[in-house]
Amino acid sequence: MTVSTALEAETEDADEQVPLLAVDNLRVSFGGREVVKGISFTARRGRCLAIVGESGSGKSVTARTLVGLTGPGSEVRSDRIELDGLDLSAPSERAWRAIRGCDIGFVLQDALVSLDQLRRVGDEIAEPLRVHGWGTAASRARKAVDLLDSVGVPEPAVKARQRPYELSGGLRQRALIASAIALDPKLVVADEPTTALDVTVQAQVLDLLAEAKARGTAIIMISHDLSVVARLADEVAVLRDGEIFEHGPVHEVLRDPRHAYTRALLDAIPSEHTRGTRLVRPAQGEDAPRRTRRPIDRGRPVLEAKQLSKVYRGPDKVDRTVVNDVSFQLFAGETLGIVGESGSGKTTTAGVALSLIAPTSGEVLLHGEAWSTLPPRRRRPLRKQIGVIYQDPLSSFDPRWPVGRIIVDALAMGHRPPSSRSAARERAVRLLEQVGLGEQHLDAAPLRLSGGQQQRVAIARALAPEPEVIICDEPVSALDVSIQAQVLDLLTDLQDELGVSYLFISHDLGVIHHMSDRIVVMKDGRVVESGAADEVFHRPRHPYTQRLLTALPLLARA
């Protein structure tokens, strides 16, 4: 928050400057279909413009167009694209090659796939130097180490000789940024630079970009995450369907948006403020409708984990303890949230709770009876009581099966298997309607559905056997904010209607806080904190929880 106030003081200076990058009426089309429909924006030295939008908005295309990598089959037209006096509206490929890496740096998301895994980190960072004829091989190697050091990578000389997969996620992303700023470009374009990163690492990466900004680099950041934007951006442009719907200083746009779309986007963000309400509002301006919850029966835990441990033996004969003495209870009708970063063991815990993974020690009880210790044959008929939905629903469907078959298959394994094919079909249709789809989706191939629709099918399948517990493993992490809101609302509606309990796993604190009644915080396989949602969030006791909460790029909302 202090970052934005400090910059307000400089706003007057920046206004005087000529913008570093000026784009007027940019239009991009692919094969006749227009994806970017005439947008205009500027980027100034020492300031960050965030271009925000959901998938399909055209934000990535815009970013790529700024470095001439729009892609094959594209047509780019504009009234003006000028970088510091240089005309970028139609340079030759050779001209582009001189600009890329030198005048404009580009940062992609997820360094794991954005860096060449077979080459050393030092070589990757030194590559822009080599391409633009900078120094000698030896001096380039030294500069690469210096760059690693400047982005805060410890032991830079050692790390430079390693390969990207040997570094942790955060260090990798820093190395990626280092390679983008190697030649001190005037403009840095970052396309979703913090996606797929843990919250604590996100904060570090944003700080790094802020440092570059303070040195005078102009930054254009593409993101779908408004809270990340709040931390770094000075200006925000909201893109939807190739058009800019809203454009202004960050605190204005986020605190008091003028456009309904922006407002809806902001409202759809789950957080502590949205607890107990539905995220999608029926009409603009109205208050969010509250949920009508069923009472939670605290006398009867439906799912109980007792001192679970899971140890894996690696190929090098080293034991890795992925889950370490984890215990929790899930009561009827409630949502227990498990929050943790990558490597915390939360997904393995889910697998053990489902009895798809056998624990090394400890046990899981279902309705107070043995569950994980049962022999598979006795456990199978009980599996209808517990269902699961995953982050990537498409991978959980047999690629050859249409939606109808997927659901009927689940119905047949449930508490009340349908007696005939027509009865099965009827119930499948009803299930689809319950999750917001329809009869027309029965014969659809899941591959052809959108991400949100696929997740709805997964929910329908999970509901079909009429379970009492559903384990949700990062169910909304791959969805756009507005779709995420719809799916979360669907889950809460179903809970209110059917009384089903959720074991809800996520790395997103806002989602967890919105959904959960009680929370378990995991780190490195251990439970570091647990308790009622409000308790954990407002009065965290463990230092890790505290760090997690402060790293969260919070939106300053009234």
Binding site: L354, L356, R380, P381, L382, R383, K384, I386, G387, V388, Y390, D392, L394, S395, S396, F397, D398, P399, R400, D409, A410, M413, L447, R461, P465
Partner: protein
Amino acid sequence: MTALSLAPAAVRLRVRPATALSLLIVALLVVAVLAPAVLTSRSPNAIDLQHTLLSPSLSHPFGTDDAGRDLYTRVVYGARESFGIGLGATALAMAIAVLLGFTAGLARGIVDTVLTRILEVAFAFPVLLLALLLIAIRGPSLATEIVAVGIGSAPGYARMVRGQVLHVRQARYIQSSVALGHTWWAVIRQHLFPNAMRPLVAMLTLGVGQSIVWASGLAFLGLGVAPPSPEWGALLDAGRVSITTSPWLEIMPGLVIVLATLALTALGRTLQHRLEGAAR
């Protein structure tokens, strides 16, 4: 590419010209194997010393050989052996491969290790040399050729099957099926087997093409089924001598082999791309 739509609107296939051509060629081959009389009225061994070494013409599309036999007819009848060996050997290879590959992929542990080692050893024998070894031991015959090529190509397929089984086995949808409460057997039957075998269908067509090349190779060396069998490789071998004087004797059978293999390969690749696109 232009799209040809065959069949009524209810069943529409978008077929590229190349694929249509390949299908046609393979269809002709199948007819040649099953009912050669449909394609030619002559007999493959009908000697006609009045019309030896004629170059291709309307009545003799491929010309005649040194004994006056119509080359086209010989090629048609030769399909039985060449294509037949190809089909038989590939079928045998696939049967072995599925058995070994599935066992290794599903069982894992020590069974998998042992089977993989066995496959490694088997892999060290090139198909052609294994065939030669078997022929040296048992003498040349149709059965020996089919068994030899079949056993020789099996390890390659078995490796692929095993790889597919291992890959599909860790798929999320397998997990989901287990989580629903299906028995292991139901999961294998409904999900694992169909999805693991899918990409291998393309391999089959490629394999038949390869087997034809190998079988013809053996005949070319004079080690195929005994003459005067019109097996394609034998025709190539016979045609070598007169290549400068009567080149059609060498070129025509060779062209047929090339076309057959090409058609099968193209079909295989198309199937591969189609299936890869539908699955993930």
